[in-house]
Structures are given as C-alpha cells and as structure tokens.
Symmetry: none
Subunit: 397 residues, 2 copies
Amino acid sequence: MRDLSVKTDSKIVLLVIDGLGGLPMNPSGQTELEAAGTPNLDALAALSDLGLSRPVAAGVSPGSGPGHLALFGYAPLRYVVGRGVLSALGVGFELGEDDLAARINFATRDENGRISDRRAGRISNEEAAPLVDLLNENIDLDGVETFVTHEKEHRAVAVFRGAGLSGALSDTDPQRTGLEPLQVRPTEDSPEAEKSAALANAFVEQAEEILEDRYPANTVLLRGFGMYPALPSFEEVYELDAAAIASYPMYKGLARLAGMELLQEGEGIAGVFQTLKDSWDAHDFFFLHIKPSDAAGEDGDFERKSGVIEEVDAQIPGVLDLAPGALAITGDHATPAKLESHSWHGVPFMLHSPYTLPTAESFGERSCAGGTLGVFAAEEIMGLLMGHALKLNRYGA
Amino acid sequence: MRDLSVKTDSKIVLLVIDGLGGLPMNPSGQTELEAAGTPNLDALAALSDLGLSRPVAAGVSPGSGPGHLALFGYAPLRYVVGRGVLSALGVGFELGEDDLAARINFATRDENGRISDRRAGRISNEEAAPLVDLLNENIDLDGVETFVTHEKEHRAVAVFRGAGLSGALSDTDPQRTGLEPLQVRPTEDSPEAEKSAALANAFVEQAEEILEDRYPANTVLLRGFGMYPALPSFEEVYELDAAAIASYPMYKGLARLAGMELLQEGEGIAGVFQTLKDSWDAHDFFFLHIKPSDAAGEDGDFERKSGVIEEVDAQIPGVLDLAPGALAITGDHATPAKLESHSWHGVPFMLHSPYTLPTAESFGERSCAGGTLGVFAAEEIMGLLMGHALKLNRYGA
C-alpha cells in the first residue's frame, strides 16, 4: 500500500457509527438500522457499493481498540495494542513513545498475604480518587516518571516513562482469590524487560506501603503491560494528512496512534459534522466517530439506537455537499441491543464514490449482505477508500 | 494442490475476456457486460456457479502481469515478476532461465551530468529504433550476452544472459530531473547481485559513450530489474498439459512462465475459438485470451466493449459443443470504460460444469455478486476448475 499510494486533491471521509451492526429483537423483525427511518442513507446506498465488514475473525467480538485498528487498516491480529495502552488512551492520558502502560486494579490482601478480593469491594469513584492521588504523590521509582490515572471504580492506569522500557511482562493478578499475587516477570530475554519487571515490582511494593491502612484497597494488581505501539502513520502508509473528529478519549487516542490530528468537535452529533465542514480545507482524510449508538446498544435500548442512527442520517446531505472523493459509512463492530454488548456479527458497510456498482435501495445489514463487496475484512476498508478516491497506482505492469 | 492433483480425461477451459469487469456510466445504469446482448452467456450463467473475483487486494488495480498470475493460481503478492521481465515478455523476447531483464528509458543528461529529461523528449519510434540497433551492435560486457529490444517511443528492454546473475538491484532512475543518475546497487548481499550491479553499471557507461552524440537521447536509465521467475509449471502443480491461445506477446509470455504451450491462433476472436477446436485433442487445459475488450475499456468506449463481449458470446455454443469438463469465463481485472483504465473492482466470474449451483439467469457483475462463490480471490480459480473437473483427490481421510 505504501508503494502504491499517491497524493491527490480528493478527500476521504470515514464515518464510524460505533456499534452500528445489530440484530432483530425477534427473528422475524428488523435490526436497529433496518428499523430506523433513514431516507438519506437509503438514497446514498442506491449510489454506493455495499458489503458486510468483519472486524477481527469469525465469531469474535472486538473491543473498541481492535475494531478501530481494523478500520484504520492495521490488521488487528498483527498490530496488538496492550490493554494498558488502551486504558491509558481511554482516560485521555497523552502517551508518549517511551511510555510503558499497565492496568491497575485496587484489590484486597488478607492477613496471610493472599488476595481476598480482586476488586477491593468494587470501591466507588469517590473512594478510589484519593488513593490514586496518594500513589501519584508518593511513588518514587529510580530513573522513570510514574503517572497513575483513575479509570472507574477499582480500575486505574499506571504509566512508566523513561528510556529502555519493555512491555514484555507478565501480570501480577493471580486471576482468583485465595492465592498470593504474582511477581511481574519478563516474558522475553532482554535487559529492557528485566529492568521493567523490577520497576513494576517496586511499584507494587511501594503501593502496598502507601495503601497499608486503606483496607479493603490495600494493594494493587497490575496487568496488560504494553509499550506505546509504533504504528506506521497514515502519512507514511497512505500519504494522507488525516484528522479525527471524536469526543471520547479512547477514540482520540486510537486516532493519535495512527498519526491523525485531533480536531475539537462541537456539541453532540451535529457538532461532529459542523467540525467536518469547518475543517474541510485543512486535511484530506477525516475520521468521524459517533459514540451514542454503541452506548444505546450496550443499554439494550433498541429504539434509542435507531434514534441515534436517524440523527446521523439527517447530517448526510451536509457531508455530500462537501463532495468527498470517497465516503465510507460503517461501524467498528456490531452492538445489538438484543445482546447488550459488542458482538461478532457483520457490520453494514457502504462506500460512495463516482465508481460504484449499487445493488440495493436501502442501507441495512441484509441489503449489505447482497452487495458487490460481499463479506470482507474490515482491514480492507482503507484500501477500498484509497482505490475509490483514485489515490493508488496500478500494481505491476 | 500438487499433492491432490490427478490426471484424468476431462478438459478445462479458462476463457479470459481481458478487462471484463465494468461500471455503469451513470449510477442507475448498466455495466458493459450487463448492457451487452449475451443470450449464450446468460443461458450458461443459469447453469453455472457465479461469483466476483478479486485479482490482488482491496482497492488495488492490477496490471496484466499480476492479473494473469492470479488467474493461473500464483498468489500475485508472493510471485512478484519484475517489470523488466514483464516488458521483455510484452515485446515477445524469449526469456530464458538465466536471463536478467530491466526496463530502459532513453533520457537526456545535461552538461553538468544531471538528468534534464527522463524520457529524452519522448523520442519517436523512428528515432529510437536505430539507437536500439547501435546499443545491440556495440555493447560488449564481460561474460554475458546482452540484448536490447525496442518497446515504444523512449522505452526499451535490456536482457543480460549468463550464469550467476541476480535481479536484486536498485534502479538508476533518480525519479526527477535536475539530479544525477544513480549507480545500480545490489539490494541483497550476494556475489550474484554484486556481479550484476557491476554489469549494469558497465552497460550504462558503454551506452553513454555510444549515445554521446545522440542528444537528446544521450543516456539510458535502467529500472525494474528482475530475473526470469521460476514458477512451478501447470504440469508440476496440476498435472495438466496446458496450452495458451493468445495473440499479444505479454499474454503469450505469461502463459509460457506457467509452462503452457503457445498455439498459433487464427484471425481475430473467431480465430481464437477455431484454434481451440483444432487443438482440442492435443491438450487438457486451454487458456484463451481475448484482448479487445480491455482496449475498448481503456479507450473509454462503452459500446465497443459491449460489442466485443457480444462477439465472444456468439462463440460460446461452439465451446460447449466440445464438452469441456470445466469451463470458467472471467477477466483478469476490470477495465471500466468510465475510468478508461484497469480498476480494482470485482470481476464477473462463472464456472460451468455438471456440478454447479446456479443462482441467476444472466451473466453480469451484480448477478455474480449474489452467486454461491461470493467475492473471492482470483488465485482460487484454478482450484475451483480442478475440483469441478474432478481432478483433485480428497484432502485427508
């Protein structure tokens, strides 16, 4: 892709309606997208290539990290981003290239040194926040800066900043109660991993001293170690000056991993599209992220999810007025209200450009299933967008 | 595949209508194939498996080389054939196994030694031909034979023949004017690459002496070095005695890479099919190549492309009279008249045998999109043909 990409004047828009894919509540019913009143999306589908995209692998429900990495063209089984890194991105921590991140659970250790509660009684945000402050003020590790950021309830994130660190480390979480916490061990044979394991163990030791009187949150478990991943940027791979319009820290962080510039978005869904208009001349690729559809699906609220989709539908004419060279509308995964969670189902996908072969008059899971793109891997979407925007040279003579 | 293939009496025909895939000129219209009057192809589609084949990768428009390698079952991203080799095949040069090929551009070098025109003013065929003769007569390299063949205007091909050569070489083309040409350097650490780089640099040095007074064509740029690729032959992989009926040098050359015998074809499209009939008893696999459909697409001539397809349609009953065990009809890539070039779009594919599951009454991009084969990689076509011709043993007990 890197060898074929060329810079042109045409612009690409990737509109991600988070958790777009859905299911009927009853087998004979419609999905959230099918049930939504979407005159603009339907009219656009009749001018677009359609297909169902698969984020990761058959039957596998992706998290937001792998789901978006696939949309950005990074094979999600190859570009593995540690959970610690995703948590740091999720809390809006500005990770740097030398940073090692890990997830923290506040936990309870009994008088025998064994873990009696891996979540410290799921302490509240109000109880956890001062503990995070205590750690930040008192942890003192040799040669690295340490940052602890609260996530939610018993969960927080630790970031170690310094030269020569490695994420090749095992977790301390013994995975069940009644066992002693584990030492962090290097999982590869390198001085960086040795050094990082020692730092992580020192962190736990100091944290236990600091939290000694804070029962039930008298210890921390560390897991999901990972370095800031060095992903090839959109500029390098596609020669695109890419920008992201997203309101949640996780998606901003993922976009930043791909080298996208973060644009300040306005209020709500309309604000996302207003920012697109305002920034149109400044970039040649735009990633737009719409979150409330996923949240509605997670809540099992079929109607609300359809409503979010309708709200997006109303913005489509404004996008078309900008005349993008290629416009893709899809999700990062399905979040069927019926399942109240992310799922493995195919995600409706449409791509509009002057060079399409339309097959249906509506945008929905089942109209997409009959499209000319078939069922395809989400990591192919960037190639399709680049091709349709006429930004790829021919391969071979 | 090699382990499963068995020799049987059944015969396979792979009919390639070059650039078959197309697009509607207007979003609501039909493609070239859909618009063509094709009663015979439509009737055959109603007895065939249908699908859309993808030549290389999502969004990527293939050249003829990768497009045909995929059809012949060679993964086009794995079996990379150098551009020099493709050019040599294209001019009908009979490449041998020890041959190293490169593309030549006649170019202009100014008094400071910098390239002032990478194409020597796009000199005409009439101007270039005697320069090619001069090089052929006067180049004298130690231990190799050198052949220069004219391609078109400022373009030619160099072939170095001798033992112990390598194509792991960098180009001399600095890619823009105002720079000095580059030295050829080995891109791998091997004596073959060292030796070949020295030969290529000596070639340029001698060429500059020979062309000294031939301004604007006073130097040559070399690029796209590659050795004759050692592809496993159809005989080895499929136990097929394969023959090619093609009129253009490029396709003859690609067929020869796969070990196919080249058959002399008669005049025009009818001639291709007459040759098939005449040679039917002598081989068990036939690759038929129809070129004018691609040329019409490249010219942006929708009607003419449909006309070529209609001409092929008229020949289908004659092919069916021969009763092939398996017959595939497809293209090597799409060449939509709308784009006036090769494109990345899915290519209509039909496979007729006694063992099919038909899904439509017509042959077109959109009827193929709904077929039982779905959207699939072109490199899978040979497996499908072998299976349908009952030439593959079961895999595993």
